[in-house]
Structures are given as structure tokens and as C-alpha cells.
């Protein structure tokens, strides 16, 4: 409650940063969608009261900065390698909530076989994908999830199928594997989307804690720098260009 002599009573609804974030400071670009997803990830852990039994395995990308500021036990992995590290950690600490945090360059380029094998094996871990269709940290080049027509540093006219081939719709691919118990794709293009991501993450974590199998949450995030759009246009571009191919929704939910 905030109360001063002449001011009306109010209660705090939400603080600047999630409880499990040590600092609001980061060097990510204006309009970046990744911090929004990280906020939802940490909120989900707090809401499940799981902070003291969580192990996060972080990949390499712009979001790697959060491995120093997320207040949960962290193992920093290499580009693409988080799913196997998460597997080893979960097998030795089966009571823990184990998640990976990876970008699309990390998970779908370098680490494609890792995430597919981990899902197929039905490992009780949750892989979280921050998908913006670019290699953000190294300067904005195309990845395996870049959609046809999407602008990146080496597809300035837009990705061309004949020249660059087609994107991999990783969420859909993972949903088809028998070992996957829950797969969902969300997007942080507006407040409702952001809130939906938190619900998806909670559902994935709950499924993991039930021991039901592999869980996966893909989050489309804005990268106006990589897409060469003004920051305010990031959400609209993402919704129209990425969202029309990587479709939002729950892709699989085994009961």
C-alpha cells in the first residue's frame, strides 16, 4: 500500500522487474522482444513456486546476457548444445525443473539434432525457443527459421525460396514427435500475446513436473534491428511476416 497524507491509497500490481531478475539493465536493442519472453519465463517459475528447484540451461545469443541476471541456478551451454546439457542435468536431478533458453540460430541451425533427439527421447525437460528469424548477436543474418520474404542482413530483398530454400517450422516438427507431451507457439507482439506466453510456459512446466515427457514453447520475438524496421513497426512486421508462417497456438497438448 502506498499512502501519503493527501494522496489516494493504491496497491502495487506489478514491480519493474520480475522477482527472479537481479537487474533491469541489459544491452539489448530498443524494441527487442526477448526481454518480454524472459520476464514471462521468470514469472512462470515464480508462480509455480519452483525457484528453488529450477536449473536453467542457456544457449548463445543476445539473450545470453540473462544467464548472469536470472536468479536461478544456471548452466551456460554452447551454441546449439543446451538440450543435451539439460538432459544430463535432469537425469541427475530428476526432481528439478529444467529448461533451456535458446534462440533460433542456436536451436534450429547449430543445434537441430540436439533438440529433435531430446524431444524424441521424451526427456522431461522444457526447451524454450526465442524465434526472431535472425542471428541477432552476430549481426542479423538469416537462420533456418527465416520466412520467405523476410528481410535479414543477407536476404535484404527478402528470403527467396529458389535461392535460400525454405524455413523449418520447428514447433510443428517437434509437435509431431511421439516423445513430445506439450508444444506451443506464442508471440510477444502485444500485451495479450505476452500474457499468453506466460500461460504456455506454465503449462509446459507443469507438464514437465508431472513427468509426462518433453515440453516445448516457441516464442516469436521482435528484432527490429535485424529486420531493418523502425522499433514501433516491429510487432506488426512480426505478426504479418513471421506469424503468418510460424502460426500461434498450442500445437500439441497430450493429457
Amino acid at each position: 500500500m502506498v499512502e501519503r497524507n493527501d494522496e489516494p491509497l493504491a496497491h502495487k500490481v506489478a514491480g519493474y522487474k520480475p522477482d527472479l531478475l537481479l537487474s533491469e539493465d541489459h544491452h539489448l536493442c530498443p524494441g527487442c522482444g526477448e526481454p518480454l519472453a524472459v520476464r514471462m519465463l521468470l514469472d512462470a517459475i515464480s508462480e509455480l513456486d519452483a525457484a528453488q528447484k529450477t536449473i536453467g540451461v542457456v544457449g548463445i545469443g543476445c539473450y545470453t546476457t540473462f544467464s548472469a541476471t536470472m536468479d536461478v541456478d544456471i548452466i551456460q551451454a554452447l551454441h546449439g548444445r543446451a538440450p543435451s546439457v539439460a538432459t544430463g542435468a535432469k537425469r541427475m536431478r530428476p526432481e528439478c525443473l529444467v529448461f533451456t533458453l535458446q534462440g533460433d540460430g542456436d536451436m534450429v541451425n547449430e543445434g537441430l539434432q540436439e533438440v529433435l533427439h531430446t524431444a524424441a527421447r521424451g526427456e522431461s525437460v522444457t526447451c524454450v525457443l526465442l524465434n526472431n528469424g535472425v542471428f541477432g548477436e552476430t549481426g542479423g543474418h538469416m537462420t533456418s527459421t527465416t520466412v520467405i520474404g523476410q528481410r535479414t542482413k543477407n536476404s535484404l530483398e527478402g528470403r527467396d525460396a529458389g535461392y535460400h530454400g525454405y524455413p523449418i517450422l520447428i514447433g510443428d516438427l517437434i509437435a509431431r514427435l511421439e516423445g513430445t507431451a506439450y508444444a506451443a507457439r506464442g508471440s510477444v507482439h502485444n500485451a495479450a500475446g505476452v500474457a499468453q506466453v506466460r500461460r504456455m510456459l506454465k503449462r509446459a512446466f507443469e507438464t514437465q513436473l508431472r513427468g509426462a515427457g518433453f515440453t516445448f514453447v516457441e516464442v516469436l520475438t521482435m528484432c527490429p534491428t535485424g529486420w531493418f524496421v523502425p522499433t514501433a513497426d516491429g510487432p506488426g512486421y512480426m505478426d504479418k511476416v513471421l506469424g503468418s508462417v510460424h502460426v500461434i497456438g498450442e500445437l500439441k497438448a497430450r493429457t
Binding site: 533491469e24 530498443p30 514501433a232
Partner: protein, 78 residues
Amino acid sequence: MNIPRPTRGTVLIATERCKGCELCIPACPPRVLSMSSEVNGKGFRFPLLAPGCTGCQACLLVCPDFCFEVYQFETEVG
């Protein structure tokens, strides 16, 4: 004509942390945020709050720089 709008909530804005991305402006349902004309220490314009906030948290959810702290009043104000 300005119709007075009920103010049910308010936000504190960490204006020095803002990077001027403007994502909060269209995210706010009652449209009570607008960008300043002056700039902060980093050189970015930052959001200003007008009456009519409902404390819905939409701005907090879409802000990449954790610039908002959201409150709701016990009773409607103004």
C-alpha cells in the same frame, strides 16, 4: 471536447532506462501514454502518462526495458 476519464490506476516510469522504442504507446488500451518531446540522458524520448490509467499492466508486459511499475487505486480517482 475532452470527456473526463476515470483513473483507476497509475504507473511509475523509469524514464532514464527507456530506449524510446514506443511499444507501450499502442499497447495501452485507454491510450494514456504518449512520447515526450524532451529526451532522457541516453538521448531517447520517453512515455508520459495522462489521466485515465486503469492499472491493467499492458505497458509493463510489452516494455523490453522494465520501465514500468504498475499500481491500482483503492477507489477511482478524478
